[in-house]
Subunit: 247 residues, 2 copies
DNA sequence: CGCTGCCTTGACCATGGTCAAGGTGCGTGG
DNA sequence: CCACGCACCTTGACCATGGTCAAGGCAGCG
């Protein structure tokens, strides 16, 4: 609601199209490069692309050509089954890389939709591959990013397979806050960029259940909710819900 | 039950420790190499390792050093939450690669347990990285394998988030059969290598629910079940359960 | 100012979880 | 070779979680 918790609050005009002087570099690119390597790294970003709220960055079935590093904005990725059911597979924010689902079949396997106006760095995958043959640190980084996604999905499977509604929402909020905090934002306040229905789709719940869980946390004094604004009053209580064995 | 549906029925004695003359090459390695490149490829397999039924190939927390290509046998991978809940994240069979969860943090993030006596090719990841800087086809292959795992996990998320018990089991059976068929085994018969509880953990269901779903399919004449032996009598009916909109 | 999209809440219900009892088949040791 | 024990599976009865359906509220926008 108020300025200091809007995420992310980056001024586009001050940013040049180059990884070497990008303030998100540490989030989306490997560290420990010398100046020369840094220059080479700038080659991977072909251009920037703006995506308006509600628009698709890529669609399931599109030919895969590039990975995308999110500069600003917020995305969701979804898969759709043949009979039309939609599953949100992730929410991505500045500094994160999307599009890796497309590598295996040269076609994207999910949609990426901007949940707010966004800007991404387009990184043609052929260039990424060429360069990562020359720069072992880049190669290692690409492998790590994909591995991280595999590990993230493992924990979503745990969430969907084993957790109850309130545990899922607690885990979701803690994860979002942790990622926002890593970007210099508050550890306790956030503005959700997605609807209750999108949260529910991600968590394997209906929107009413998500809403009820929010209300429950609010009644219990654990959080303060007003529409999409959420403030965590009792982080330990949230963690306890998420992981009841602790304590 | 009878010989021709046992999986996999490979004679270890006839196999040399080299990708270049491995009968699973097409499943776990890229195609289109010339003889020279093929020779180089053999370098990635450091050695073979046998894992007895019930033993761990790697444990969550172990230092990550290698990927493993399954030669023979059948594995499950599991993640365990802090409070001890276990989630089976996948079942892997001959020709599939496991261990990619370890790349991001240099530690394995899940367990891999042999569900039957198994043999794997140990591929030190440092070697894989070195060689894939020289062989673009290998590089591309490594990327595809990881992307494939991401896409697989996306569809598990769909399954866990959106499907009902019987749909999950139908999808599971169809997926297993399709993979076994790709290995030259029957399209309609299989012997499950995992318990009802393990199936349930993978599918986000309790073992009783899995058992009931098997019984239901059996009553409906869609499959024939006897303990771990399953024969699909009506594949179309199974597909219809899995994807009710079709037809 | 009214429309629209999103959210909340209540009442009811269905799916699948829990608990319990008993069955089946296999491996081991007598 | 048989018997026992164990691990795994099946089935029933009951119950809880979360889904469904419905009504109404709130906030932002044209």
């Amino acid at each position: 609601m108020n300025g200091h918790i809007m995420q992310p609050a980056l001024n586009l005009e001050t940013i040049k199209v180059a990884c070497s002087n990008c303030n998100l570099r540490e989030l989306c690119m490997p560290v420990g490069f010398n100046v020369d390597e840094m220059k080479r790294l700038d080659e991977v970003v072909e251009k920037r692309r703006r995506v308006k709220q509600g628009e698709l960055l890529f669609n399931s079935g599109d030919t895969f050509t590039s990975l995308y590093a999110i500069r600003t904005g917020f995305f969701k990725t979804c898969v759709t089954s043949e009979d039309g059911r939609e599953q949100v597979t992730g929410f991505q924010m500045a500094g994160e890389i999307i599009g890796m689902d497309g590598i295996v079949s040269d076609r994207h396997n999910c949609n990426a939709v901007a949940l707010e106006d966004a800007e991404v760095c387009v990184m043609p995958f052929a260039t990424v591959e060429d360069l990562s043959r020359e720069l072992p640190a880049l190669q290692r980084h690409v492998h790590k990013i994909m591995s991280r996604e595999i590990v993230r999905e493992n924990s979503v499977m745990m969430l969907l397979g084993n957790m109850r509604a309130e545990e899922r929402l607690a885990a979701f909020l803690l994860n979002l806050l942790q990622r926002l905090h890593a970007r210099g934002l508050s550890q306790s306040e956030l503005v959700l960029r997605m609807t209750r229905e999108e949260i529910g789709s991600y968590l394997g719940l209906k929107l009413e259940t998500v809403s009820r869980a929010f209300s429950k946390f609010s009644e219990d004094g654990i959080i303060e909710v007003k529409q999409r604004y959420v403030k965590v009053l009792e982080p330990d209580a949230l963690k306890k819900i998420f992981n009841p064995q602790t304590y």
